[in-house]
Symmetry: C3
Subunit: 160 residues, 3 copies
């Protein structure tokens, strides 16, 4: 089976903490396994790449509203289930610490260190009014063409 290219792409569409965790755990696992890995962050998932702090950039009113309504980074994500108005994520973080599981920010750092390619969807940036200054460092920028180009050469392609 050596003829087949091995590799992974993950589209992170969702802006939920649990789904982002799953995405980064799979990405890191695949990278350890020797796969080329690309993560493509689109729609709500793009918020995973936002900086923690407020970044002063010039924006229209609607873009400002979007920016405020959406979470700045994974530390502010909620759960897709059992969120309980923010209590759920705290409980999960608590049990993760207890079991010495890597936190989401640590998983992102690990992904960068392992050479996982993190791509911010430029169409989403346009629509939601998010600017490069507001996103973390070490990203690439691209659209659906970038995604398809990588996915075409891989066999593990997930939409999360």
């Amino acid at each position: 089976m050596a003829e087949q290219p091995k590799g992974t792409t993950i589209i992170l569409f969702s802006g939920d903490m649990d789904k982002a965790m799953a995405a980064f755990i799979i990405a890191n696992g695949a990278a350890s396994f020797g796969h080329d890995v690309t993560m493509f962050f689109t729609f709500w998932g793009l918020n995973a790449l936002r900086k923690d702090e407020r970044v002063p950039v010039k924006k229209g009113l609607l873009e400002k509203a979007f920016g405020k309504l959406m979470p700045r980074g994974v530390e502010r994500f909620g759960l897709s289930k059992m969120n309980f108005a923010g209590l759920g994520p705290k409980l999960i973080k608590h049990v993760m610490k207890k079991h010495q599981t890597a936190s989401l920010p640590e998983l992102i750092e690990m992904a960068k260190e392992q050479g996982v390619k993190l791509v911010a969807c430029t169409m989403t940036m346009d629509l939601l009014g998010l600017q490069k200054e507001e996103l973390i460092d070490g990203l690439e920028y691209g659209g659906v063409g970038t995604y398809i180009g990588d996915a075409s050469e891989r066999n593990v392609n997930l939409f999360i």
Copy 2:
């Protein structure tokens, strides 16, 4: 890597506007890239293929209720997040127009023009009581076997 077949299948399970947009953007991107593309519409995603207008067909009570409770076509879909009782989709449509992004009905037309194969899940049609007359033109009809047959020959297979 020429030995590997290139191609895309997308299962649209979700009935959310944002996820349907992602599905059609990827499908159109893959088709432009030269992929054979199949989209398989199942469960709530099947509603993306419903005609906009009410179609008079004979149905049982339960099927009538399902038909009324579920949206007729993508224009009536809500968002998976920040729906705000229907305000969210309006805002998104507004910014899409502003950025001259193709609307969801335009993306569906584009997919047809590019030869993307649109398959309505017949099991879902049976369960929810949706009939061919209620769905848009230019569809194929099939079950899980149709999906697996196509996915087996492709490498980019997504569930949305």
Copy 3:
């Protein structure tokens, strides 16, 4: 195209009845088609593998709370849409019986009979405090490495 390995993996992350049904229908379809099939149950999806009855095991307080808040098995799953406080799943089960569609417990049995490999995510078991005694028989246990190992050799890899 004989050079390409054919096979399917499905990550069931979601704990919704409709998504679990989709996952098992695809898994069974792929197995009938001759694919090697692995299903990996993680996060909320792990609840699909819980026994129906309460199993007396020793647990901490938090693990007890998680165990009670999450559904014991697929028969207690809700719908991702139109759940209507539990009425939705009953309606769906009703129409499924009317159309003689296999129920979710039957689909799980079928998957076992067809040799679908069912893997319980051990990291999730640790985090949520679920123990082997609480899960149904006939499972394998593994982490992300187990998943990547199988997905690397397959071309249909879905995240549900």
